[in-house]
Amino acid sequence: MTEPAIELNGISKSFGPVEANKDISIRVMPGTIHGIIGENGAGKSTLMSILFGFYKADRGEIFIHGQKTEIPDSQAAIAAGIGMVFQHFKLVENFTVLENVILGAEDGGLLRPSLAKARKTLKELAEEYELHVDPDALIQDIGVGRQQRVEILKALYRKADILILDEPTGVLTPAEADQLFRILGRLREEGKTILLITHKLREIMEITDTVSVMRRGQMTATVKTAETSPEHLAELMVGRKVLLRVDKKPAEPKDTVLEVQDLRVRDGKGVERLKGVSLTLRAGEILGIAGVSGNGQSELLEVLGGMQTGTGHVRVNGQEIDLTGRFSDGQSRRARGIAHVPEDRQREGLIMEFSAWENTVFGYHRDPAFQRGPFMDNAKIIEDAKGKIERFDVRPPDPKLTAKNFSGGNQQKLVLAREMERNPDLLLIGQPTRGVDIGAIEFIHQQIIALRDAGKAILLVSVELEEILSLSDRIAVMFDGQIMGERLPDRTDEKELGMMMAGMSTNDTDGAVA
């Protein structure tokens, strides 16, 4: 019997009072793809950081190919044949692919021989694993999918035979993700061992041989992928049964609430990020904006929510709203009945150092209902917060707890409670379930549908295609600051949307209702 490529034995790691990893043991056989799945904060990243030498485990042993190995730093990890592809790439933007590959792995003081050697190796690797990238292209000029390949090449160039990939598909289009999986398949055939960290059940089912589930710092199960199901994995992750599908009635759209015409936004550097977007949204429907992140969806939400200035025309309930100047801020938007659940709840939607009750009036703190004389009526706000916390099932139900001490899902529920209970005409909602555990996703989706059924207009931006497909009544796909087209969710599929997200126009206009 062969030795396992990786064997972890009783790994534990605490950060102060938080036990991020508790007595974790796994065995990964060579030539397999092993998935590690778990909710945010379950301890996946900590475990991988230990394996790559960023953290030192408090207890436990690591065996690589049967050899007990100490990994005090990333150099030792690389020497042991471990390569890591981070969620956020570690590439020098204005270097070429080749230069990035040899960075930190140069032979001697002169660059030229290293570059020549790398060029040759890269060519061999490209052929062996179908990892084609132009070695002389600058990183900033190639797409994220290719940048990721460069990361993989970097690891292979350093002779890694164990690859760790942390949430590799987060920034990819479905087509790019498929390509990545093909590459991973090739690597497996060549005998490489791959650890795939993800929170997406679909990816686990599609590509892994075995899967370990983590929950609250512990390894709750390790199973053969062929012998499990998404429902079962979800249950293992959350610790109870979860509904993965969203139940909803057909939409009954009424009057037009939001009309956007030729909306344009430039960023701080003067680059146009929204290039003439037009759309309409009616009461009682959800318009989903699909797209790979960075294609203008964030700017669309920001300009509508008053966080960015822009040009063009936006009408809410038939009245034009200001896109620049004094009355284009968040306060003015709220006055017009627009509520906004921002994409980044930790940097935008909440003040992490404020208590929950202070956060429940954030943005609405000037509302006269919350004032008493010159002061804010804190007693009333706390009372109001208690109600919101109860109705949105925020746990723990303590309004005095600081926001940062809630889990991601409960933080999101705080934001949703605040924005939805204002009874807005239009709700802008960005990445409603990013970093939210599966159990809370179910609840959040139900709330969004309920608000739609109450006759509100909802503009939903999400990079999770599944979420867009299951919640939206109409889907608009954004690419490079423009809307590529609209589709109806029951007349399209991930493949077609994926092509549109990559900027390819599909000629099928049958679903469009623009």
């Binding site: 102060g16 801020d329 306060q331 940097r347 935008e348 150092e353 404020f354 703190h365 002061f375 804010m376």
Partner: protein
């Protein structure tokens, strides 16, 4: 879950830090061949055991309360106002103009007028750096510190060329009219039978400082402006989401901060010197930074820290007077206090957190 109770964070951490600073200071005193116990006794005797000692301690504390509050308010908006010194200097000019050129009938009205002028002048001096920060992104630390130098020069010019009485050699304004002189604690609390606060400079502006503490507490934690200052301070991106204008908060917070720093001039100029002199601030603007740091930007903390620094100032003066310990050593002790309570805060907090954690897990195990 909080790592340790709030009360422990607010009291134990500074207390232990203080103890460590005291210990180290004792070692330094030992090293120069003096007796630390005697030195401490002298400081306590001189600053706290006699009412006149208290009179000085409280006088210094008054200054530190104002400047500490000034730094705190700005800090809640994540602005580091180290221009308290300059703002207080300019405010001194305001107080002098107010007292010299307005015929006040009674000290109480003069006090109100002087507060108003001090606040306005201090705020005005903070306005320019605030505007430059808000609109141009010029870093407030750089601009406020440069404004300290400008204030010093402006004051020098005004005193030498404008306010100095003819034939006087000293760069100082004439004495303020009697009617503007503030009652000292000696005037207020002494009786013929029991003289108190004998010739100590502490005066009625101490109560203005206490009122300022209450004002700052209400402003920061109870009003919507305070709410906006705090959330802007924690996260500018979130403030943008909420629709809170960064320009407005930066300017308003600095105006309030400058006005608070300026109020200090009422104590030194109208209360103590009763005329405007060149170096009336005596570095209190900078001590305010330490006071705010140690007081955790909370008025109660600022009050306590200001009292501590008042004690150090007065006790230090006593040391310099009665022992061979040089006055500079007091600066060393102050520096140690600042180092331990401010900069090395984490050194004390981390082990303390572990202690509380261990206690809790033991409790849970039971």
């Amino acid at each position: 879950m909080e790592k340790m109770p709030k009360w422990a964070d607010a009291t134990l951490v500074p207390l232990i830090s203080l103890l460590l600073a005291a210990l180290l200071s004792a070692l330094v005193i030992l090293a120069i061949g003096e007796d630390p116990v005697a030195a401490l006794k002298l400081m306590v005797d001189g600053a706290l055991m006699r009412s006149s000692g208290w009179g000085y301690t409280l006088y210094y504390a008054t200054n530190f309360i104002f400047t500490g509050l000034a730094v705190s308010v700005a800090f809640h908006a994540r602005l580091f106002n180290i221009g308290g010194e300059g703002q207080a200097m300019l405010a001194g000019l305001g107080v002098a103009l107010c007292c010299l050129y307005i015929p006040w009938p009674h000290w109480s009205l003069a006090l109100l007028g002087a507060c108003l002028f001090a606040g306005l002048f201090g705020a005005a001096w903070a306005l320019i750096p605030a505007y430059l920060q808000a609109k141009r992104g010029s870093h407030i630390v750089i601009t406020t510190i440069m404004f300290n130098y400008i204030a010093f020069s402006v004051l020098g010019y005004m005193l030498v060329n404008v306010l100095r009485p003819a034939r006087a050699m000293e760069p100082a304004s004439p004495r303020f009219p009697e009617a503007t002189n503030l009652p000292t604690f000696e005037d207020m609390f002494s009786t013929a039978a029991a003289p108190l606060f004998k010739s100590a400079p502490v005066n009625v502006s101490f109560f203005v400082a206490l009122a300022a503490c209450v004002f700052v507490y209400l402003l920061i934690w109870r009003t919507k402006l305070g709410y906006e200052i705090r959330h802007f301070g924690f996260s500018e991106t979130a403030a943008n989401y909420a629709g809170t204008s960064g320009v407005r908060i930066t300017v308003v917070a600095m105006l309030i901060s400058g006005a608070l720093a300026g109020l200090m001039a009422v104590n030194t100029t109208q209360g103590e010197a009763e005329r405007l002199i060149l170096n009336s601030t005596e570095g209190a603007g900078f001590i305010g930074i330490a006071v705010a740091l140690m007081g955790r930007n909370h008025p109660v903390g600022v009050l306590l820290a200001a009292l501590l620094f008042g004690f150090l100032y007065q006790g230090g003066a006593e040391l310099a007077l009665w022992t061979n310990i040089p006055r500079e050593l007091i600066t060393v002790i102050q520096a140690l206090v600042i180092l331990f309570t401010g900069a090395l805060d984490h050194m004390v907090r981390a082990p303390l957190e572990r202690v509380f954690l261990a206690m809790r897990s033991k409790k849970e195990a039971l």
